[in-house]
């Protein structure tokens, strides 16, 4: 009923909708309901029309075959994902992205925040690490390519230090191309973790730290038993942000390796693009998009649940 009330309000504020409202707010004029309608319409229409309806369409499409005259095929497209070696590798790469880009930015970001907090020149060191966060994924990938190409800076450095034996075709073999793409995105993403952990550290009350010092907790002990638990809410935010970004990451891999060679560095975000727009297999592409959505939603849910769980402790 709420919906009909809202829908009817702008055209005829004194019509039947007004009567429905009177039951609830006898003294409020029906014209008041123009407000919510006017305010919400554009936002809701855009979200539903541009995001939610396409989402529904992709879900629907994932049950139909590829080709010009799609027919209903049930879960066949989803099965294809698990039987196609390229797509299985893409799934493995996506999981590597989740693990790598969770552990590294969170761990390294925490370490850098805690270490630079105690240093006089910590602010300058932090700026160096935070700066790449302001770059786009595309620009970051350009930088990464410059470092990692076979004739790039990393191999050059290894040669100069007499470590020529360690030179490697970083972007041309699996799994090193995926690992390199992850490291490049860690170079970009750690900054935000550092910034957030700094905020968290500054929020720890001085009395807590003093009390810990009186009780003899110093150095690593203080870090382990006082600082880490105090930073838990911040950690939840950092994990949430890096997880969401890692799963959706498209630009770094696209520009750095184009998913290749031979599609070995594709993630699900990229496989959806190449299946749908390059290989013209829209059914499989839709199934990949839905699988990716399921992974994103499941991990967001797990993260939200963990976060609220912490709050109850």
């Amino acid at each position: 009923m709420a919906q009909t009330t809202i829908a009817a309000a702008p055209g005829d504020p004194r019509g039947s909708s007004g009567a429905a409202l009177k039951v609830r707010h006898p003294r409020r004029p029906a014209v008041e309901f123009v407000g919510p309608v006017v305010c919400l319409t554009l936002a809701v229409v855009l979200i539903v029309g541009v995001l939610l309806v396409p989402f529904g369409f992709t879900g629907y499409r994932s049950f139909f075959s590829n080709g010009l005259n799609p027919v209903y095929v049930g879960f066949a497209n989803y099965k294809t994902i698990f039987h196609d070696p390229i797509l299985v590798k893409s799934l493995i790469n996506t999981l590597m992205w989740v693990v790598g880009s969770l552990v590294l930015p969170v761990g390294v970001g925490l370490g850098i925040a805690v270490m630079t907090n105690q240093l006089k020149w910590g602010k300058a060191a932090r700026l160096a690490i935070v700066l790449p966060y302001a770059l786009s994924g595309t620009a970051v990938a350009v930088v990464g390519g410059f470092m990692l190409r076979s004739d790039g800076a990393i191999n050059q450095m290894l040669g100069a230090f007499g470590l020529g034996g360690l030179q490697h075709q970083w972007l041309l073999t699996w799994p090193s191309n995926t690992i390199c793409a992850i490291l490049v995105s860690v170079w970009q993403a750690t900054g935000v973790a550092v910034v957030l952990y700094m905020v968290g550290l500054q929020g720890i009350p001085a009395e807590t730290l003093e009390a810990a010092a009186l009780d003899g907790a110093a150095g690593l002990k203080r870090f382990r038993y006082i600082i880490i638990p105090q930073l838990r809410p911040v950690t939840a935010v950092v994990v949430g942000i890096t997880l969401a970004n890692a799963l959706r990451a498209f630009d770094v891999t696209w520009v750095l390796t184009n998913g290749g060679p031979a599609r070995t560095s594709e993630t699900l975000a990229l496989s959806m693009y190449s299946e749908t727009f390059l290989a013209e297999r829209p059914g499989v592409g839709a199934a990949i998009a839905i699988l990716l959505t399921a992974i994103v939603l499941a991990s967001s849910w797990a993260y939200l649940r963990k976060q609220t769980g912490d709050a109850h402790e």
């Binding site: 499409r61 786009s136 990716l292 959505t293």
Partner: protein, 276 residues
Amino acid sequence: MSRPRLRLSSVALNLSVAGLALIWLVPVYLIIVNAISDQSKYTGTPRWFPAKFGFFGNLKSAWQAANFGQTAVNSLIYATFCAAAAVLIATLAAYALVALDLRRPSLWFWIIYSGTLLPLQVFARPLFLAEAQVNLYDTKWGLSIVYIALCIPFAMFVVRNVLVSVPKEIPEAARLDGANWFRMFLHVHLPLARSAMAAAFVFQFVYIWNELFFGITLSISPNVQPVMASLATLEGPYSTTSQPAVLAVAIVVALPTIALFLGFQRFFVSSLKTNL
């Protein structure tokens, strides 16, 4: 007794921070050195020391190779117009959710907020087909509509976080004074939301400026594509542009976001914190 140990650990601390900062700075140093050294001095492998200043020459050749002038203007339009439109629409929605007597406010909240939970890939093909159908594919409007819709959920979230904290007495008093919903929005909530709106605008401006995925799925011609699509083409496998030129242009297209980020760092931090 504890003094020598302390000194040792402080040496270790300084060294590890210096090491990490070095890892982060070496790429930055190399980009700058190679971007400012003239292309003619580039031998195919990275330079470690600058040679013959040629930054503007490098920039010019890359700029022409991939229509950067046009695509940078496009992105400036998208980022300014779409971020502003999204923040305005999102503020109206946040106002409706918080201050107006709405039934099922949480249902409407989740309908709008759901946009942030879904991966972009799930919208791409239906939008591509729909835009082709109504002749919006490869037009500025076609991309703008998608960018505005993508930016609304988070902007709504940021503004709502601020409006929720407005004491109930203020709108009640305004209402008693006879203010209707529009006057209340204009004179009470809009002024209060201003700094949150600015934060959301900066955030979404950076997001759109950096966007690549829809730029390459929903457009193809240089007078529509965003600037990151140009950069991606230059770095692609078919590019013949020299590395110093690509790096020079990568630095230039990153300048707006770096400037905004450094200028509004506090905004970024506070909007990220509201995620809690």
